[in-house]
Symmetry: C2
DNA sequence: CGACTTTTGATTGACCATCGGCAGAAGTCC
DNA sequence: GGACTTCTGCCGATGGTCAATCAAAAGTCG
């Protein structure tokens, strides 16, 4: 029924399960001879590997074949405003090596990307595989995914319009995919924890506030790549609060980590988390109140978007369940019953690894499309 | 390059432009002989027709072929709370015949659908084509599109869980597609006025308020088919207003047509429009204020969803530009610059025909998928 | 250890869709 | 009307897929 090119065959085996020839003949409907031909093509370039699986039913045991996640490496990076993380993953998204460091994004693209390449080199020399199949990168601002460029990013001086794809592609010969950091976190969280969910929203509450949107299992990026920017929605409670964007009344100005830190007279979001963990009642209350304010905005969005899962992540979500509790309190009370009755509001499971994990998934799904695999099998 | 089955070929010709064999060889990359074979298959069942186009360039003139929208009929219906519209369209979506009448949806499914079939019969007898290729239906409440059933509809007693698809399919042997009425209006408006726009929101302000969401040119229906229900978002200005849903503070309770009619002491939304057209200042001000309230909710949604077009439709939008002006005033002032700088907020062009037009498009796009056409070309 | 079972790899001819060339048809231009 | 151009239908060549067959391989079972 389905057209089964080598690439289409590989996408069946992508789930990691090992399958015998007989299994695959059943699934694909192909003749055994044709199937063997396809498998040989994939085996040649080690896209799949034979695995010993002696489930003999009285005769010669069948050899099972499984997807080989080590066929290529993926370089994934999540550049935040002040912190950066680089990881080497295989084609299943499993992290093989990683490194995190403090790196201010306002150092500009060349400095940051050079650091990225240097770090990648270090990680690569420690690895036994060397074939990089793609690079995925998350940036803390609006990104036009198609061209791989940041557009009018408020926190990234020097990055506006910088051709990240071309710059990195010139150094490493592999496809480069760039996206907003919250988008890749949403993607990572979706693929890891809720791959079957059709519509999901990932909310990152850190120094700022933003969200990533998954519609029909795919990222919704919006017209200018600016979708998900809920940090600057105006909320009544913030009427008098000045936001870093220059306006009054932004959600972020009252519920973001920076706002909480200012009120608690500490330096940053991480200090707020520390206070909460230390048991400071004022901090705990503020975080919960922050959750309520976020919940207020999400309540409208739930009616509008009708997701089945909302994931809460970001630094401020690390302060126990308080943020989550605040969000739940308001969303379940304020949205329509039909939209909330099966709505699951949960905490991020990948936490600070969601970004690199999502960046890796973004690359993997790009590289492992049937058409793309067919090309690679055919030439070199 | 692309796999060009008869169905894929037809989808190239779907745009209505006539093309010669030479044109199609260029586009598809197929051999002329193969292409002729495909064309013959499509000609056999009149999916395409040869058109006289003597653009001879010195030799034998080429015959051009064009999509035949008359190959099948589509039955499209838009059932509102009190008003219903049925239309017969061709496969381009052009309305061939239509009929509108007052029909209360609370009469229950069997009565409404029987009326629909009777009306369709009348329209069909006047038509020279008789082959119905599909039925599209819009209903005023949440619909689970997959199963074709209304789920917990607040305004449609007797419809909850009723198997519309099966019931209609038993009477007319054709695929039946059901969706929320605002969704099909959004689809109709998108395909007619903004087919190249990726992300669009259609807002219907009538007796109630709802919106249809287009993401990546496709309808986003949400987890329970409840996406777009912005009428019951809580807004501060409505704190004391009781909504028909039983809650306090809903947008609809202050900005919906029913709310305006109550304040103006007239019966329904159409009376409000009549007052505005008659020049009653109070009515005009109320409609504009309604636009502002809707704009307040949309401002958050624009930040979240980042559409490039917002279309304002529904009965209240018929009262001149006042509603639109109110929406624009708030959205352009309150959303992020990046999200609004290229945002187009415009009025519906299809007006009260958006529903049937969208229902027809929903069916057409389902019936004319390459796979579906291939099946029809192969068997009968 | 031998009989039996089942998978595997290789080979074969049949089949079908596609391709490319060729001759005839249907025009234009001089 | 004849030369020329361009389109169209026809036919053999081509290449990938399929079903069938067979011998070898690698197990289990008595």
């Amino acid at each position: 029924m389905t057209q089964e090119s080598p690439g289409a065959l590989l996408s069946i085996l992508r789930d990691g399960r090992a399958r015998t020839r007989a299994d695959l003949v059943q699934v694909t409907g192909l003749a055994r001879s044709t199937l063997t031909q396809r498998l040989d093509a994939l085996l040649d370039q080690r896209w799949i590997l034979p695995v010993e699986e002696a489930i003999s039913s009285g005769g010669r045991p069948a050899t099972a074949f499984a997807f080989n996640p080590r066929a290529r490496l993926v370089l994934a990076a999540d550049l935040g405003v002040t912190r950066a993380r680089v990881a080497l993953t295989d084609l299943s998204g499993a992290v093989l090596a990683e490194h995190a460091a403090d790196l201010p994004i306002d150092g500009g693209p060349e400095r940051c990307l050079t650091w990225l390449l240097d770090t990648a080199d270090d990680l690569l020399t420690d690895s036994d595989i060397s074939d990089v199949g793609g690079i995925g990168l998350g940036l803390p601002g609006p990104v036009e995914h198609r061209s791989g460029r940041a557009v009018n990013p408020p926190l990234m001086p020097g990055w506006d319009g910088f051709p990240v794809t071309e710059w990195l592609g010139a150094k490493i010969d592999a496809p480069v995919l760039v996206d907003n950091d919250v988008n890749i976190m949403a993607l990572g969280e979706h693929r890891a924890a809720a791959p079957d969910v059709e519509h999901m929203i990932f909310v990152k509450v850190g120094t700022g506030i933003g969200c990533g949107i998954v519609s029909e299992r795919r990222l919704h990026r919006g017209a200018q790549g600016a979708a998900g920017d809920i940090g600057h929605v105006r909320v009544p409670a913030a009427d008098l609060a000045l936001c870093r964007c220059g306006n009054l009344g932004c959600l972020e100005a009252i519920a973001g980590g920076a706002a909480l830190a200012a009120r608690l007279r500490v330096e940053g979001t991480r200090d707020v988390v520390r206070l909460v963990r230390g048991g400071t009642a004022e901090a705990t209350n503020l975080v919960r109140e922050s959750g309520r304010e976020v919940g207020l905005v999400l309540a409208s969005i739930v009616n509008f978007f009708n997701p089945s899962v909302i994931v809460i992540g970001g630094d401020l979500a690390e302060a126990g369940e308080h943020l989550l509790a605040g969000v739940r309190e308001i969303v379940y009370g304020r949205s329509l019953p039909l939209a909330t009755q099966r709505l699951d509001i949960r905490a991020s499971v990948l936490r600070d690894r969601a970004g690199v994990s999502g960046a890796a998934m973004m690359v993997i799904e790009h590289v492992l499309t049937p058409a793309s695999v067919d090309r690679m099998v055919e030439f070199g």
